[in-house]
Symmetry: C2
Subunit: 553 residues, 2 copies
């Protein structure tokens, strides 16, 4: 059997200008990055009517993921086999997982976006531009303090952190500015992974370059000695930061193995950030395609909730259908089966674990979303298990369709594609937000925790309690919420599988993200800088004299 | 008068494919990065005879620089006005100075390389790839220690530092791995600016991707508890690191305002690194042009010395002529005139300061290099001063030609160009290395200090003394030397102007760069991470809705 990278390297790609031409993208708005990648200049000139929006999400995943990207790609390819003019809008991979454990984010098997090596490594440089912008701001803040501190920034209250697009636990807690008076002001500092940076969120939510600059200006970087918030505008550097992002804001166009156009742009994680690709890319896909297929990170409790409550108001368009990816093996895990037993047939565990899928279905229906379940097939799955899972979904009034897109590409997702088309035609989505922004801050957090996660209550640690009060005084309590939480459970405890009840969500800290326009709420022990595993994927990577990569997956 | 960026934005660029075609670069080796930038796949297929190599260097500069890049660009444009088929090979700018004080590195006035905004910001992502590779190695080292430390790496003896392509003094001295047992191993750490990273040196000296990988494998990252060196090969990650650099190693092609082809690739600083653009870019320029114009950073004591002693053996070709850039104002500064008086006519100061230029001329002649002095004109310079400077050079047997390339582009450097052509035709360069690698380490350092800098002697601080002994035992004493030193003086004290004598060079520390293949010798108080000035250039930068930059220079 061929590996992902072998399949990718044997693929016949079309020149990206051809893909763009097929979409009707004007030649002069295309900036090539090699033969198979391009950036598209933002423009409002394309057709004004928007296509149908298909949001792909999933149950709470196993550590390897449940193949949401693979299904998204297969679904788009399947739609195009049915001549439905589908366009993908996906996230850019982070080098953290690529070098670490999880691997890339370009799909798998016969459902991949290409060139997979480039997309998984530096791509068109967007994430590097974000890292640089993030750290340029840090350097400018610390330089301001060092050079006289006209704004009176309290070094102990700088909340803007440096970032790197790597898994590097060593940088979680640091002290910087050591040495002597000439080497900066000593203070505690931590590095986040770039996908958690507010710059990433801002890039993904901005409608254009001027909106981006306006959002950058609003970012709160810390507080003065008098506890007044200090913004990027106070530092007068929003112009420089926007300049550093002038190309990164343009969506990237690539293609699938079956030459379906794919906009891959922006990549916040869904556990520690808002988990959706950029508004600009999704909007471009909606303008150019009759169907736009997009995904939101991790389970529907994280990515889809944030898509619906945070991205939709910025996008100005709600999904027409939600495709919920589930796997037999993950549901068996949710049913209590040990991870090394997942290849064994176990209908009891599957039925028990179905509770997780059922909860996510209900949650999406609660937003007024029609739902189709996509069962992502694995080799070890049994027909008996597929049959049981489809029957369980049927009882909930939801169609579950098998996808073998990993093995068969678009052909393996044709049934899923036609089901999705039918559901969109037959069931009208009736999008309703989960909460109103004007609700008290505490109530908004509780609403998400209780409605989406199934929590009994929310407990606020001391620091968070003080922040509830402070943020209300600052008028920040009118913002929506972006919860940082483990992706493995509906709760904030990775070990609580299935559909846990009777747990309280513990809020540790709240972080103002005024540029993004939401508050990040840290729960449980979620980390904003991952670590590498004992044997990182990097140890198996290589490149030959001709520049061909190996060891990427 | 138009600013640099205004001139750049009014320029009419040719599509970069046209520039490539003119050079005879095969179409299928060109990877476009937008319309006006391209990477060229490395290949040995071009004409085997090499063009003439022109090395542009300078006297010790003022903080604003003496216009070495501007003269290089003007000279190449001037050569092409004379139909001499000249190609440029220059360095990539670092964002540190761009956001800080010195500005970009794309020339100035009517002698610029374009698109200046892109080249000065992220360009084709090479430096970001180097930063990422550097820091991925750091994360892999610390993860190895954290996950059981099979190699027995002593955390207190990790010499590999993290890096960022920014001026950020706050990161010079840090402590990382704080928190608790799960957050890594606490140790001291410092960040260098990326242009000082050994990865940058390796990329610039490697002949191809496999040589790059072999060099990466040799990098020493620290020592075990038994004081044995630990290499990248021991960590088994040279494949992953080379993979991260697979595109960065390809030279970038752009053009000047007059559509002269320019390879801009690699950008180590000359004060803290080896200061030359990449071997691959210079070789490509030599293969494609009848004349290749390249520059080496800062004064001839730094960049040119390193070009001649470190780059030439890797390039396999020595310069045919050295162009020494001097300015009236900098020589007056070397003659003792205060920086705010440099616009005033002062023949006495000029004559006194000429000692600096004279020393650099002698140094280059000592390498067997014919020398042409290029006087880079400034508006405040007087005819009397030009005349004196030319007369002083004539007495040394060297022609000094005025260049108004900044004001007039290639036309302003035509006389310089024809002089350079004549000197190459008439005087045969007879390249001789300054020292043999097999000399004792101490003697090699003394040779550079005494011959090039004019030092009386070299004093080694305690740490350096121990390293002289240790490195000899390790067999590292056979390597050539890369001295890190202030660029403002021939000595290691920025305040000693002119041609100081009777000073001792103080060696603080020696750093093994086994991948680059040299030892970096830190002298005086030179910093490997610069800081931002009181009012960073970033405060004046902006971008408009159409993506047009302002405030770059």
């Amino acid at each position: 059997m061929s590996s992902d990278i072998e399949i990718a390297q044997q693929a016949k790609l079309a020149p990206i200008e051809q893909i763009a031409e097929k979409l009707g993208i004007p030649q002069d708005t295309i900036e090539l990055y090699g033969k198979y990648k391009a950036k598209i200049a933002l423009s409002e000139n394309e057709k004004s009517s928007l296509g149908k929006l298909i949001l792909v999400t999933s149950i709470n995943p196993t550590p390897a993921g449940e193949g949401k990207t693979t299904v998204s790609i297969g679904l788009a390819d399947g739609l195009n086999q049915l001549h439905k003019n589908a366009v993908l809008a996906l996230r850019e991979p982070s080098l953290g997982p690529v070098m670490g454990l999880k691997g890339g984010a370009t799909g798998g098997g016969h459902s991949q976006v290409l060139p997979m090596e480039d997309i998984n490594l530096h791509f068109t440089g967007d994430i590097h531009a974000i890292t640089t912008t993030n750290n340029a701001l840090s350097a400018l803040i610390d330089n301001h303090i060092h050079q006289g501190n006209e704004l009176g920034i309290d070094p102990q209250q700088v909340i803007w952190k440096r970032s790197l697009d790597l898994n590097d636990r060593e940088l979680r807690h640091t002290v910087v500015g050591l040495g002597n008076k000439a080497q900066g002001v000593p203070r505690e500092e931590g590095f986040d992974i770039t996908v958690a940076s507010e710059i990433m969120a801002v890039l993904c939510l901005a409608s254009d370059l001027m909106d981006l600059k306006a959002r950058l200006a609003k970012i709160v970087i810390g507080y003065t000695y008098q506890n007044e918030p200090v913004t990027v505008r106070d530092l007068q550097v929003e112009g420089a930061l926007a300049l550093l992002l002038k190309d990164a804001i343009k969506p990237n166009l690539v293609q699938t193995l079956e030459q379906t156009p794919a906009f891959i742009h922006g990549g916040p994680f869904a556990n520690i950030a808002h988990g959706c690709n950029s508004v600009t890319a999704t909007k471009t896909a909606l303008r150019l395609g009759d169907y736009a297929v997009t995904e939101a990170g991790f389970g529907a409790d994280l990515g889809a909730e944030k898509f619906l409550d945070l991205k939709v108001p910025n996008l100005g368009k709600a999904p027409d259908v939600v495709v919920m990816v589930a796997t037999v093996r993950a549901l068996k895990m949710h049913g209590g089966l040990a991870i090394d037993q997942l290849a064994n047939e176990n209908l009891a565990a599957l039925e028990k674990g179905f509770a997780n899928l059922k909860k996510h279905i209900k949650n999406m229906q609660n937003y007024g979303m029609p739902v189709v379940v996509a069962i992502n097939e694995f080799a070890a799955d049994r027909e008996s298990e597929f049959a049981l899972l489809q029957e369980l979904c049927r009882k909930e009034g939801v169609t579950a369709v098998r996808s073998s897109a990993w093995e068969n590409g678009g052909v393996g997702a044709q049934e899923l594609a036609s089901t999705v088309v039918d559901v969109i035609a037959e069931k009208k989505a009736d999008y309703q937000r989960l909460y109103l922004n004007r609700l008290p801050l505490e109530d908004k957090i509780k609403k998400i925790a209780q409605t989406i996660y199934g929590a009994r209550d929310v407990s606020f640690e001391k620091k968070a309690k003080k922040q509830l009060k402070d943020f209300k005084e600052l008028g920040w309590d009118q913002l929506p919420i972006c919860i940082a939480k483990t992706q493995y459970s509906l709760s904030d405890d990775a070990n609580l599988l299935g559909a846990p009840r009777d747990f309280d969500l513990t809020v540790r800290e709240i972080m103002p993200k005024m540029g993004a326009g939401f508050l990040v709420v840290l729960t449980g022990n979620v980390l904003t800088m991952p670590g590498l595993p004992k044997r990182p994927a990097a140890l198996d990577m290589d490149v030959d004299a001709a520049g061909n990569a190996s060891g990427l997956f």
